[in-house]
Structure formats: structure tokens, C-alpha cells
Symmetry: C2
Subunit: 176 residues, 2 copies
């Protein structure tokens, strides 16, 4: 059997809508409304008032934060289609947040049950031996010599040096 | 700065003495004594009486199993020395056992605090982009084209095709 090309797909802001969760918890707990439109080129926490700007780490460190994130539109169908053609790995820099590990694995098993445990990688630096990488963070492309696809997220809005997918339909057009 | 060579080190039976824990829990809970001398070329669970041979999965699936493993003799000092010369990554196929993730991360932080979160990888298939790999399981060498060092564990006793380290002092001799 011919070996399939290996494709690494990021979780936060690519498969999972982490920003939506941030917006929700700050609206709920702090009556603070952050609009997607304000976010271009910025990290979410840069938009928080000074009094709140350090609390975002408390949220991501809390058990449960990553467990109920919404799936990005179209991701399930396109990933299923990609699995037919590619050896798909889900690669998340989860190691920074101890309590995210189980939440992220459970989330994967709920929403992407066809991605088996052998194809999930939780790491820090993304030192994966793959041919294609889809990620919203260009720091994860450091030292990677394969095809790099930046997945649009407000914080990367002004980055122009990479092949870009604005959504999962565009990933499908590029890779299927 | 010149880039260091990347070295991937396995956890179970390389940094952490998983077999010692197995021996202990079967002695404690089942009055069953498994001797290291009987284990050559065999997996631990193959030595269990039929009535117990399936319970080993219950143990590794339970929270806490991987939290209090003993550190393999010499591992801490040699890993510290290796970090001066190599870009050391700890790579464990932890993803099979959901509840091992946090235990393994906490264990690393306790016993190897100088290995930061960026250099820890929990995965299934070990698709890491490194130049050297130290592992007790040759299945983890599949598709890996770098230098492969098999770390002695009873189950791999009769495997002869790889460069072998019997303990951490031998790793030091080979790589330092």
C-alpha cells in the first residue's frame, strides 16, 4: 500500500472555536463585550481592560475550559474527507496547560471519533514529521520545511507570507 | 547559535520503571509474584495467570498508576548532561491511556523539572522530527530514519538488530 501524505491539523482556532469561548466567558463573568471586529491583528487578551488582562490564563488553566468549545464550521466533514486521502494527525500545543490535556482528548473523541489515539499529538514545540501543516500560529511553522497553510484567525489577519485558508471549505478546495 | 541535534527519549521503561510498578501491584492485590528473570522476551501480562491476564489494562487506565513510578537509575543525571549537548524531547505514547496524561506530565515536572513543557510530546504514533531516538519499543522506530537506540527492557531481550543501551550509564557512553 502506498503511504499517504501526512497532514498535521491544529486544534485551537482551527478545529475548535476557542475565541468564541473567550468572548462568552468574559461576557458572562465580567460583563465585558469583545467584538470579533476589533480583534484583527491582536491577541484576545490584548483587548481586555487592564483590570482583566491577566485573568485569561486562569480561564485556560481551569479544568473544563477546552471541553465544550464549538467545532469550527465544516471541520468535521472536511477532516473526514481529508482522512481518505491523507494520514491526518491532530497536533495541539496543549502541554502548556496541564488541565487542558484530558479535556482536549475527550473533545476530540466526542467530535472527531474517527481520529484514533495513534493520530493525536499533544506537545509544546511542534516537532512533527509531516508534509503539510494547518495552523493559525506561525510560530508553529518555525523549522518546518513542508507545506504551511495558515488558518485564518483574527490575530493572524495581517500576516501575508503564507498560503492561507479562511475556513474549512477553503481547506477542502486546497487539499481535496 | 548552532542548532543542537534533537534527541527523543521515551518514558515508560526508559525514564520510568513501569515494570516495577506492575510487579508491585500484582504482588499487593493478587498475591502473584512475577520475577524479572522470567520476563525475557515477554510482555509482563503474558506472565500473568489466565485469571488475571486482562486486568493489567484496568491498572494502566486508572488515575494515579503512572504518577508514582520510580525513576530509572541514573536517568536524571544523564538526561541533565544530555540537555547540554542535545535538544532533548521526552516523547511518550501516552494517548492510548486517557488518565495517564496528567500523571505523566506531573511525574515529568517532579522528576525532570528542567525539561520544559515545550519539550514534552504525548502521542500515539511517534511521528517526531528528531535525529536520535531512545526507546524500548521497536514499533516506535517504524518509519524513523534517524539513529535508533533500543533501551533494554525484558520484553526486547532477544532483539538484536539495533544499537542497544542496557542502562543510562551506557547511554552516557554512547552520546556524551
Amino acid at each position: 500500500m502506498e503511504e499517504k501524505i501526512r497532514l498535521a491539523i491544529d486544534m485551537d482556532e482551527v478545529l475548535a472555536d476557542t475565541i468564541d469561548k473567550f468572548i462568552e466567558v468574559y461576557r458572562r463573568d465580567h460583563n465585558t463585550e469583545i467584538l470579533l471586529e476589533e480583534m484583527s491583528g491582536k491577541e484576545f487578551h490584548e483587548l481586555l481592560p487592564d483590570t482583566l488582562s491577566h485573568s485569561w490564563r486562569d480561564y485556560v488553566n481551569a479544568p473544563g475550559f477546552f471541553r465544550d468549545l464549538k467545532v469550527m464550521p465544516g471541520a468535521q466533514q472536511v477532516v473526514a474527507d481529508l482522512q481518505k486521502k491523507y494520514d491526518v494527525y491532530i497536533v495541539s500545543a496543549a502541554m502548556e496547560f496541564r488541565n487542558s490535556l484530558i479535556d482536549k482528548l475527550d473533545w476530540m473523541n466526542e467530535h472527531f471519533p474517527n481520529i484514533g489515539w495513534k493520530n493525536i499529538v499533544f506537545c509544546g514545540n511542534k516537532i512533527v514529521d509531516v508534509q503539510i501543516m494547518i495552523d493559525d500560529r506561525i510560530r508553529n511553522f518555525a523549522g518546518f520545511h513542508g507545506r504551511k497553510i495558515i488558518f485564518s484567525s483574527p490575530h493572524n489577519h495581517y500576516i501575508t507570507e503564507y498560503e492561507r485558508a479562511n475556513n474549512w471549505l477553503e481547506v477542502a478546495d486546497m487539499l481535496l
